[in-house]
């Protein structure tokens, strides 16, 4: 396996819909930047990823379309980043401190391949 590819992990961020004031939102946003900045400061950020708007639809068997991903999945996927780490354990260590976790969310850590 190619070394460059083996060492990339995707962090998937899930978080329930929050009802925050603009200040609260700004505060959370700052915490996110501090957390991503911390990973970047360690030279371990491979890609800043894509951010997803909350609105969305889910398409399922039989052409069933449900509004928003909320119905089935309690925690909505808000975006992802790609990090560099030697092992899955190192990647999990990097994921610690993610501000989404403190507001009821989770980080899913997955090995990436092109």
């Amino acid at each position: 396996m190619n070394k460059n590819q083996a060492n990339e992990f995707v962090f998937l961020f899930r978080q329930p819909a929050l009802n925050l004031s603009p200040e609260g939102q700004g505060e959370l946003q700052k915490k996110w930047m501090d957390w991503v900045g911390s990973i970047a400061a360690q030279g371990k950020l491979a890609s800043n990823g894509i951010h997803l708007a909350a609105e969305g639809s889910v398409l399922k068997a039989g052409g069933v379309v449900t509004d928003g991903p909320f119905v089935e999945i309690r925690e909505i996927l808000g975006g992802f980043i790609v990090v560099k780490a030697d092992t899955m354990d190192d990647a999990i260590t990097l994921a610690h401190g993610c501000p989404g976790i403190d507001v009821g969310g989770s980080v899913e850590i997955r090995t990436a391949f092109a």
Partner: protein, 411 residues
């Protein structure tokens, strides 16, 4: 007489770059050494003549006239050149007929210098060689001055310049602007070199303060030159100029006599140059046009916040966020360390310590300095051992002495 000498030196430095650019423009960049010789001879004549007859009313015009004569003589006198050099000139037919006539108009000087800036900053030459070449050809510094700035000797600098010029010849670099569609991309390299030039002055190892300031001023001048042309007057150009203005504003505050650079927190803010800070804000505003956010934008904004005297949490929080963004664009150990320092000032030692321990920059003495600083009021033993690590890794005696002082100040 001292002062007279200094004024002459300043004039010569300024006119050196103009005349070399114009002569090289006419005879091709491959003959840049001939251009340098002609200009040097011109200065010799000027020194001798002016000593007896006094400085003329328009010294630049006087120099241009002599340079024209010297150029003509030079090419007529040297039969070898007529046979071997003239055949290599890049002349249009019209230019050819004007050969005897060097054009020292304001416009042609400016154009030639801008083209020289792009030629010297071609990505085909390694940036190390470009710095020396830029200092000599674009800024007019003497070999002795460049050697002093690099803590080197004239011979080494001469060799380095020789190789850089050989590279210009071998790569057949032309004295011209890049095609229009490539200017913005090529400009990135030019801005990079200008910034390196500035840093060479700002962080130079030499104790010669005047020389170091001159480097910074020359870098600023080259940056401002780029604003005179629409195609190169882009937001990123303005961002770089803003950055250099903010840095330069602290030049005096950073120095106490011949001592080591004063740490930011210990600087005497009354020594900050408010005029340069205002200039910086002006160019920072200009840089905000357009969508591109370069590292110069982020660094200039960081420098702007540093120019505010009050040490508020808001200031450090803003600096922290800007460093976070800078890391997303471009990781470097120094940015990672500065980001952690900002975190310390914004969120306190404990938060910063956790982050600092993760960086693991084990070959960097600034890293141990930062750790020492963070442990200072938490764990003196750990502070001491980190300072000791820093001292062991420090590269100069001055640095080691400064760190020893910190150790002595502990408990």
């Amino acid at each position: 007489m001292e002062q007279h000498q200094a004024a002459l030196k300043h004039l010569f430095k300024q006119e050196f770059t103009k005349m070399v650019a114009v002569i090289s423009k006419l005879y091709g960049l491959q003959h840049i050494e001939i251009a340098e010789d002609i200009v040097t001879e011109t200065f010799l004549v000027a020194t001798e003549t002016w000593e007896h007859k006094g400085i003329p009313l328009n010294p630049a015009a006087w120099l241009y006239t002599v340079a024209k004569q010297k150029t003509l003589q030079h090419f007529r006198r040297n039969k070898t050149y007529t046979e071997k050099v003239i055949p290599r000139l890049n002349l249009d037919q019209e230019e050819h007929e004007e050969m005897a006539e060097l054009n020292f108009s304001y416009r042609n000087i400016k154009d030639s210098q801008l083209q020289m800036l792009f030629a010297v900053c071609t990505p085909l030459i390694a940036s190390e060689a470009q710095i020396g070449l830029a200092l000599r050809i674009l800024c007019g510094f003497g070999i002795d001055e460049i050697a002093e700035a690099f803590l080197s000797n004239k011979e080494t600098i001469n060799k380095r310049l020789f190789r850089a010029k050989e590279k210009l010849r071998n790569e057949r670099i032309q004295l011209e602007l890049p095609p229009e569609g490539e200017i913005s991309r090529r400009l990135d390299n030019v801005l990079h070199i200008v910034y390196l030039l500035f840093s060479e002055g700002y962080y130079s190892k030499t104790q010669n303060e005047i020389l170091r300031k001159d480097f910074c001023i020359e870098a600023l001048r080259l940056g401002l030159m780029l604003t005179e042309y629409d195609k190169t007057n882009l937001p990123k150009t303005n961002a770089l100029i803003a950055l250099m203005c903010f840095h330069a504003s602290r030049f005096n505050a950073r120095q106490i006599g011949e001592e080591a650079p004063v740490l930011y927190e210990q600087q005497d803010v009354t020594l900050w140059d408010q005029e340069l800070i205002h200039q910086g804000i002006h160019f920072l505003n200009l840089s905000a046009q357009g969508n591109e956010i370069t590292s110069y934008h982020l660094e200039a904004r960081i420098a702007y916040w540093h120019s505010l005297k009050q040490d508020t949490r808001e200031k450090w929080e803003n600096i922290l966020q800007l460093y976070n963004q800078l890391l997303l664009i471009n990781y470097s150990p120094m940015v990672a360390l500065n980001r952690t320092y900002a975190l310390y000032k914004a969120n306190g030692q404990h938060a910063a310590l956790i982050e600092a321990e993760k960086l693991k920059l084990e070959h960097n003495h600034f890293y141990y300095l930062l750790l020492g600083e963070l442990y200072k009021t938490i764990d003196e033993a750990k502070a001491k051992s980190n300072y000791e690590n820093a001292k062991a890794l420090a590269k100069t005696q001055t640095e080691r002495q400064g760190i020893q002082k910190k150790i002595d100040q502990l408990g």
